[in-house]
Amino acid sequence: MSTYFTEDHEWITVDGDVGTIGITKYAAEQLGDVVFVEVPESGASFGKGDDMAVVESVKAASDVYAPVGGEITEGNGDLADAPETVNEDPEGKGWFCKMKLSDKGDLDGLMDADAYKTFCEGL
């Protein structure tokens, strides 16, 4: 399993051809208290960079983009009643969805943990 990061602060952990996707700790901290999450439904397909989910704080609604292309196999239903999980454990229990990757080549160009850390320090 390896975890990759985007410049829009999504993470994806890939196991075989299935990836688990969420937003990073940095993103969760920037958003502040999350009050609502809309995760994609199973069977939905997205291209890399498409609007895939929405996360809302008290302040505003923010789009979450698909870090890679593929078909959703599961959305995290627990977030509907407990959106604060995204703040408490953004890179664990606060995952948004699982996706079957259509092309693992989409992972090229994403950052690893070290590169993402450096990227955030530059913001």
Binding site: G32, D33, V35, F36, E38, V54, E56, S57, V58, K59, A60, A61, A80, D81, P83
Partner: protein, 382 residues
Amino acid sequence: MAETETLKRTPLYDVHVAHGGKMVPFAGYEMPVQFEGVKPEHLWTREHAGLFDVSHMGPCFLFLKDGLGQAGAHEKIAALMERLVPSNIAILKPGQGRLSVLLNEQGGILDDLIITRMPGEGLDGMLYIVVNGAVKQQDWAHIERELGDAAALQKADDRILMALQGPKAEAVLSERFPEATELKFMRCAYLQRGDEKIMLSRSGYTGEDGFELLLPNNDYGLGIVDSLLADERVKPIGLGARDSLRLEAGLCLYGHDMDTNRDPVEADLGWVIQKSRRERADFPGAERILKAFADGPAEKRVGIQPLERAPAREGTEIQVNGESVGIITSGGFGPSVEKPIAMGYVRADLAAPGTKIDLMVRGKARPAEVCDLPFVQPNYKR
């Protein structure tokens, strides 16, 4: 263009940065949107005391060019102001303020504003007025154009205008200004400390008890702000919590919940037009506004309670049975009520509390109902 416009800074800019404020452009100024976070700041204000920088707004003084302080001076300045607003200004007692609206000739709302009769001997014939920051230049130009022959306008937006809001506000402020305890809601005192002059009013934009202070932009004024922030009962509060607090309190934001396309009746601000003014019918747009009173408006501003967890933001379409019947003008999440909340305009026949409506959030119909405002009971000291 907004991008190339030079943003102004309020006298408290350095204070915000020192307290970790995240600065954003707002109404032409660099303002703090948050410090520790919208939700904790919101809740702190409802439980303790929050300090808000509102120096970007438009405080000013309007006074008679001739006869200031003489007998009948208040009636004269009130008669002038009443040409532009539909409220009874003549009846205000010294130090009393009230909310009103600046109207255009069609009865549309140019701005909402607080108009206060200056307290104290010698100041009859002067009004203290606070208009919104985003439209202050056009408001002031309008007032000067309409009333400039007889009245002079002194702008005070180079000073510090701050609000201290919350249940601890009186205790904190009365340690510096004992006069605060004596004031009731919407009353104002004009204080002097040495050479320094301070306008202190018991008012605000959060639904909580609290005060607004116009302070000089100098070491004295900055010292007051610093000493308040040094008090453990006080935290600085950003624009984000200011918005969620006022929305829970059911208070309008100009340019969103009302504008020149709305008259006071549909904006549910008919109460700012006292009976005497309705009878005299002598304010701008009186014909349209009195007709709206008599026949009922076509649309009405209402509170909206989403019944699911998804917030509905400004611009969200309101539907009933697939038909478009209105629009959300302010919407988000209320940290104190722990639910999404909104306000907006619906067709007048759908304005009764309890009416079921759909909010079209990202293409999906989300159930909601019309509700009474405010979402939290105000704690004003009347």
